[in-house]
Each structure stands twice: as C-alpha cells, then as structure tokens.
C-alpha cells in the first residue's frame, strides 16, 4: 500500500501540519508526497529530506502554481492510480482541493481524521467535536484529511527521497487567481490563533481587561473573554469564547480570572494546553487546566511578562 500526501509549504519549507500528515500516512503504508505551487521546486528539496518519504512528486509546471482547487484536484486524480490513500493535513487548502479530487474519483472523503484504526477505518469528530465517529469506508481508494494536532510531526531532516517531476493536466482557466491578502493585524484572529489569552469577570473592569494586552503581545496571542466579562461590559461580544460565542482550539489557552462555567469550557476544551490563573482554588476551570496557578492575577500578570522577557 502506498499513500500520496499533498503537502502545504511556505517559503520553501514544509508546514508542520503536513509533517504530521506524513506521520499519519506512515501508519497506512509507504509514503509518496506531492508538492505544487510557486516554489514547488524548493519545497520538493525540503520534502525529500523528510524521514519516511519514499518519493517526492513535484508539479512545477505553472498550471497549478496558484494551488487552485480545480487544477490540483485534477492533478491528484491523474496520479491516483498507484495509491490506496490520498491524504493531507486539514488545512483550508486541502479542504478546498481534496473533496473535489474525491468527486473525480467517485470516492466519499473522510475529513479531520484523528486516529487511524486500519486501512479502511478512521476516527473523526462530528458535531464540532461533541462526538467522535468511527467510520469504515467501502471505497476502494480513500481520500482523507487529518487533524495535525492528533499526530506528532516527523522531523524536518533525516530522509533522502528522489524527486520526480509530474505535470498538471491542462486547465480550462475558468477559475482564475486574483490575489491574496494576508492578515496584517498584530493580533491574530481568535478562531485561528495559536495562542489565546482570555479574561473573565476576575479582570474586574474594562480598564483592567486591557492589562491582558502586554501578555498577549509577548505570546503573539489573540484575546478572548468569558461571557461574564462580555456581559459585564469589559469587552465587546465578538471576544466571547464559549457555547454562545466562538469555539477555539489553540495550542495554548490561558484563562485569566475565568471561573470555568461549562458554557465557557464548551468553547475551549479542545485546546492543546490549558493554563488557568484564578484566586479561587475551587474554581471549576482548574478541573480541566493542565497548569493551574492560584493567585491574584494582577500580581501574576506582570510576573508572567517578566518571566517571558527573561529567557525569551
């Protein structure tokens, strides 16, 4: 069994999520990878060094340079013959492209896989993670995306795979790339941030809530809030994390002065690492926090900043 993994890359480097996808693919069989887009040649060089990669396919022909779904799906479908599985990390890119490729192959795709049981059977979240479904595919070929956080990425060095050029089938150009605009804001968006710092009613007032900003700056974090803080008028509603607000799953979630009502937990419990700072040792947030610190957050905040500045 050989698996084809579509990689995401940036400035010639393979994204970490795609290295996790390779780790997931390794559980299924031999791994070939495909790189497309501008910089495909540079990315192919980087991909060749990834441990566990048997062969690198590089489509540097220009047709798929903008990585639009139409040509890339056609390319994937044209390469599919030798593969039992076509796989990618669950990125916006892959979610755009893989289902289209699956349609061309008459396959039902399996998105957001968190666990590989066997070649046909996978675990994936449904209902925004409220339930986990184990599904078995009867398709002869599988098309899937995997959740990067569920698989430890392979290293960036250690392999030496051959690179082979492939060409994208001719495209009818009914879909044209116009441009991209990357977020300029200093503060990442709440739902896609790698780190989120959230404040609760413990922040006491609108002025004090701003004290979270220096910490967030140091961590490159988005700022969120509990419903209590929103209700109390400290911040606008679009800061709200929770059942009635935004659902976030960053790598690091820092809850400052949030008691941890279940409605709030519903919005952040899938975060990889949760830190809670609260003066009440009985606060329910500590029941789910990986690291808890009992204390006055107005003392903890400057101390945290100082520590981050120190060794950073």
């Amino acid at each position: 069994m050989t698996v084809l993994v579509l990689l995401d890359h940036e400035a010639g480097a393979i994204k970490q999520a795609s290295r996790s996808a390779i780790a997931a693919a390794s559980k299924l069989g031999d791994v070939d990878v495909l790189v497309v887009g501008h910089n495909a040649a540079r990315a192919a060089t980087a991909a060749a060094k990834l441990p566990g990669v048997k062969k690198v396919l590089s489509a540097a022909d220009g047709i798929s340079a903008d990585e639009l779904a139409e040509p890339v799906a056609a390319l994937l479908a044209s390469l599919a013959d030798g593969y039992t599985h076509i796989l990618a990390a669950s990125s916006a890119n892959a979610k755009n492209t893989l289902p289209r490729a699956a349609a061309l192959l008459d396959v039902q795709p399996i998105p957001d896989v968190m666990e590989v049981i066997d070649a046909d059977t996978f675990v994936r979240p449904i209902y925004a993670g409220s339930a986990l479904a184990t599904v078995k595919s009867s398709d002869p070929k599988k098309v899937l995306t995997v959740r990067a956080s569920a698989f430890d990425p392979v290293a960036t060095e250690g392999g030496s795979a051959p690179v082979e050029n492939v060409s994208t089938p001719a495209d009818d150009t009914r879909s044209q790339f116009v441009g991209t605009e990357l977020s300029q804001s200093e503060r990442p968006e709440l739902e896609s941030a790698r780190v989120v710092v959230s404040g609760g009613r413990g922040m006491q007032n609108e002025e004090n809530f701003k004290l979270l900003e220096p910490l967030a700056d140091r961590l490159g974090a988005a700022i969120g809030a509990s419903r209590a803080a929103v209700d109390a008028g400290f911040v606008p509603n679009d800061y709200q994390v929770g059942q009635t607000g935004k659902i976030v799953a960053p790598e690091l979630y820092i809850a400052m002065g949030i008691s941890g009502a279940i409605q709030h937990l519903a919005g952040m419990k899938d975060s990889k690492v949760i830190v809670a700072v609260n003066k009440d040792p009985e606060a329910p947030i500590f029941q789910i926090a990986d690291y808890g610190l009992v204390g006055d957050l107005f003392e903890v905040l400057p101390a945290l900043e100082a520590e981050l500045d120190k060794a950073g």
């Binding site: 209590a228 109390a232 009502a261 409605q263």
Partner: protein, 545 residues
C-alpha cells in the same frame, strides 16, 4: 416602533401558547367549526420546547377530544403500574399505607407516564392536519385592544439590540387580529398578567399561589428501570412550613423523570429549591436509581397551586383564559394536563357558540366550566393545599387524610389563601441558614452545568427581558433584608450578586433564563417583571423531557 408599520393578519381565533390547553382549544374549534381560521403562536423555538411537566397524564380529556388517540401514535406508552408515596426522614423513607384511601387523588391507575413535550408535539401534528396554523418561534408581546375589546396580539419585534435600538436584521412584529383571542400561556402568562389588570379579572378571588417544579431527565441502567413506577415523597428535606416534595417516574426506554416541587409561599429566604432538588437524590429512597445513570436534560417551571379559590374571571370582551394561566391545575393530584385540555375544549365550545350569536364576550365558557367534571374535581380538593399553608406540612397531611376519608371532599367550609407568595418571605436575619452539600458531579450537580442541559439560549444582542423596576429597591429590600433570594430561587442562575463584600450589585444573566416565571412571582416587592424575550429564545427541552 410606531414609524415602522406592522403587517396585519386577520383570523377568527388567535391562541397564544402551544401547550396542552392551547392545542386542545385549537383542535376542538376545528372539530366544531371546521371553517374557523385558527392561528396559534408559541414563543418556544418549536412546539414542546418550553413544555416541562412530570408527567403522569390522566387521559380523560384526551379521550373526549381525540377518542382514537391510541391508534394515531399518541406518545402515551407507559401505563402506571406501581406507585408509592413516601414520607422521608433524613435517612429513611416510610411508605404511606392504604394510599388510595388516604390520598385518593394520588390513585394513578389508568394514567400514563409521558413526556408532555412529546404529547404537545403530537397534538400539534393533529392540529395542523386539521388546518390549524401553528407558528412557533413567535412570542406574543402586546395585547391589542379597541374600544375596550381585545382584538388580538402583536408578536415581538425581532432584531432589537441590547440598547433598545433596531439592528441590521430588525424585523417588526406582526399584528395577529382575531374575533376571539385565547390566552393559553401556562402558569403566570405575561400577557395574561396584562389582561388581568386591564379587566380586573382577579377581583374577589384569592391570590394565586404557586409552586416551582425543577426537573431532570435521566437515562438509567436497564436493570434498575421499572417502567410504570411512580414514586412521590414529602417530608425531608423541607421543614414543616414549606410545602413540596419529590417525584420519580420510570417510563419509556430506561428513562426516569425526576423532580422536585416547592410551594413558593415558603418563608425561609435561604431556601434554594434547586439545592433541595439535588439533595433529595442522595436519599436512600432515590439514590440507587441514579447511580450509574446519565442525566440528559434539566429545566424548571412554575405551576399554579391556588386551585378553585384562585381562579379569576375567565372571560373578557374579545377573549378568555384557558389552562394553567387561569390556574386549573389540580394540586393534590399534581396534574394539570387533563384540566388544561378540558378548559381549552370548553373554551372552544363557548367560542363556537359565540360566533353564532356574535357575542363580544364568550361568556358561556364560565358556565360550561362550572357544569363540567373539571369544576367538580377542583371543588372536591379545594381545601387541601390551603390546609398545608395553614396547618403546616404534617397538619396539612392529616387534614387531607380526614378530608378524603371522612368528608370525601364535601366539607361545608372553604379554606382560603391569605397571602400572595411574594409576601411570605422572612428576613435573612431570622431565617435559619441551610447547609447544602457540594455537588458530586455524578448524582448531584451545580446550577450552571444543569442550565447547560436545558439548551437554553437567547439572542445575545437584545434588551434584558427581566425588568427590574428599581435597582435601589433591590438593594434596600432584596439585599439588605433578604440577602438576594432570587439568586437562590432562580433555577437557572439568572440572578447573581457580584462584589458582595464591597458593593453588592445584582447581575442579571438573562441568557440563562428557562422561562419558569418564578422571579415574576416571588420577588418580595414585585420589583421584577418577566416579559417575553425575542421569539424562539429560552429552553429547548428535548423529547423525553
């Protein structure tokens, strides 16, 4: 929003509320007068979403309304097979012997354990099939009157921001005009409250008195499930001055309806109905059923307990009151579904007649009620609940035994309710504090995780629908004298005191509200006014609830 003209739609009859009484009214109307146009609105997101009841249902009214209900998929599938009334002490439960003689109202043979929400969903399908137009998700917000006559209701505006100004998706309410408007809002209806004032409907009757029922739906291991089991309790943990008790019904597929009712005339300001409800589950008479089970849903709702003496005038020009908003619940039976439905059916008959004679006020409704079994039933039990208020829990139980066995409900006297529930609270300084156990997260739970299971939600950007008339009154009365009883009686953690030590302030978490109406009833100075929030807000009780 007078600059934004509302659309108008005319019907023969408009019904406010999609519970058993409103649906029975609608069905009966179409049976009697198939050409009558009937529009029913419901503030819940769907029929059944706001329905909360035990429920052991006596099928008497249903037999009369839809005699073939058994063959048309009515969700009444668990007949009562076994029943106990327990008197609890802290550690033991004693079964009341000869239950059917001492408490004949509690005889449940022939009754069914069911989810009243499911029953209502089924009734709604029947009604729609008969041509009733049903619109869930729209709250009646305003009573329309013309020349002293109620001519319909207006639904609430949608898309009003918290600041009271129309937002981008503002949609004005709609006027639903009708020859007759029927208020079927359930206990303490917010429009009913206005109509009662407009027409002075409560003149000469006892104040209404209420209970608060808090319920959980459980799924328990099959080996512990005894379909048809009905178990009630009284005694512990309530003191003698507080009316109430627990219920537990086994029904459906491993489902258990568990709940607790507290009479809202309770005096102790420290009492927390929610915590009483939680701790009874720890009693040896209840606990074994919950071990290893899974809690599925949660909710709360006030119910009328005043009985016959508290029933207001039922009709007014252009409309009438049906079901529990009028107060037709039979308290000793702890049942109101059959009476609610019966009242709706009688209202429909009165309306059908009023159409023929073109009467402004469908007055024959009152006569029809008085001539029906509904009246006989309420008359027979009229003294029991007031006896508990007057003689305490033990004295009341004794009285009700005597009333049942010797007087057989035909006592030549009538006991009266003397105080409204908001007048009975005693100051915090003289009320004994109650020490409630911490939730264990397995059998007992905290309030917020409970509210979570009611699936309640309100569009965030809308005015707070719990109107506190005066915050300074809250401070001087609710806080200084009673130490914020609302933070304890509210089963949904809507009311919260912040900055308790420095500057006690009332925080209103309106989004949590499960529409039980207790605050509207129990606030000592009637300082809290419950008005309908944007339509489809509130709990979303699932099937089984």
């Amino acid at each position: 929003m007078s600059e934004n003209p509302r659309e108008i739609m005319e019907f023969d009859v408009v019904i406010i509320g999609g519970g058993p009484s409103g649906l029975a009214t609608a069905i009966r109307l179409r049976q009697l007068a198939p050409d009558t146009s009937v529009c029913l609105i419901e503030k819940g997101s769907e029929i059944g979403a706001h329905i909360l009841s035990g429920a052991v249902i006596e099928p008497r009214a249903l037999d009369e309304l839809l005699p073939h209900w058994r063959d048309s998929g009515a969700p009444l599938n668990t007949p009562v097979s076994e029943e106990h009334m327990l008197y609890l002490t802290q550690t033991r439960g004693y079964r009341v012997p000869m239950l059917d003689r001492v408490m004949p109202h509690m005889r449940n043979h022939g009754n069914y354990i069911a989810s009243l929400g499911e029953v209502c969903r089924w009734l709604a399908t029947q009604a729609e099939a008969m041509g009733v137009e049903i619109y869930p998700g729209f709250a009646g917000a305003e009573v329309l009157t013309e020349n002293g006559r109620v001519v319909g209701v207006a639904t609430g505006d949608m898309g009003i921001g918290r600041d009271g100004k129309p937002g981008d998706n503002y949609a004005p309410g709609m006027e639903l005009r009708a020859k007759y408007t029927i208020f079927a809002e359930g206990c303490r209806g917010s429009l009913t409250k206005q109509v009662m004032q407009m027409y002075n409907l409560r003149k000469g009757v006892d104040p209404q008195t209420y209970g608060l029922g808090i319920k959980e739906l459980w799924e328990i291991p099959a080996e512990l499930h005894r379909p048809g089991l009905v178990q009630h309790s009284f005694g512990w943990p309530l003191d003698d001055r507080t009316y109430g008790g627990a219920w537990m019904y086994h029904f459906g597929e491993n489902l258990v309806s568990y709940g607790f009712v507290v009479g809202l005339d309770y005096p102790n300001t420290w009492l927390s109905p929610f915590d009483e409800m939680q701790r009874v589950k720890l009693h040896p008479s209840f606990r074994p059923y919950f071990e290893g089970g899974r809690r599925l849903s949660y909710g709360g709702r006030a119910l009328s307990e005043g009985g016959l003496q508290s029933i207001p005038r039922l009709t007014f020009p252009g409309g009438m009151l049906v079901g529990d908003t009028a107060g037709f619940l039979n308290v000793p039976k702890i049942k109101g579904t059959h009476t609610a439905m019966k009242s709706g059916m009688l209202a429909a008959e009165a309306v059908a007649e009023a159409f023929l004679t073109n009467r402004v006020e469908p007055g024959s409704y009152t006569r029809r009620i008085r001539e029906s079994w509904l009246w006989d039933e309420l008359r027979g039990v009229r003294n029991i609940r007031p006896a508990f208020a007057r003689f305490g829990m033990k004295g009341g139980a004794l009285y009700s035994g005597i009333d049942a066995m010797l007087l057989r409900g035909r006592a030549p006297w009538t006991l009266h309710t003397r105080h409204a529930d908001n007048e009975t609270l005693e100051p915090a300084s003289i009320s004994p504090k109650i020490d409630y156990p911490q939730p264990d997260g397995k059998v007992t739970f905290d309030k917020l995780s409970s509210v979570f299971l009611s699936n309640t939600n309100h569009e965030e950007d809308q005015p707070v629908h719990l109107k506190v008339r005066s915050m300074s009154m809250w401070k001087t009365v609710n806080w200084d004298v009673f130490r914020s009883p609302e933070s304890r009686y509210c089963p949904a953690a809507v009311y919260e005191v912040v900055d308790e030590e420095t500057n006690p302030t009332l925080q209103i978490n309106a989004q949590n509200c499960v529409h039980c109406k207790t605050c509207d009833i129990k606030d000592p100075t009637q300082n809290i006014d419950w008005v309908t929030p944007e339509g489809s807000g509130g709990p979303n009780y699932p099937g089984g609830m």
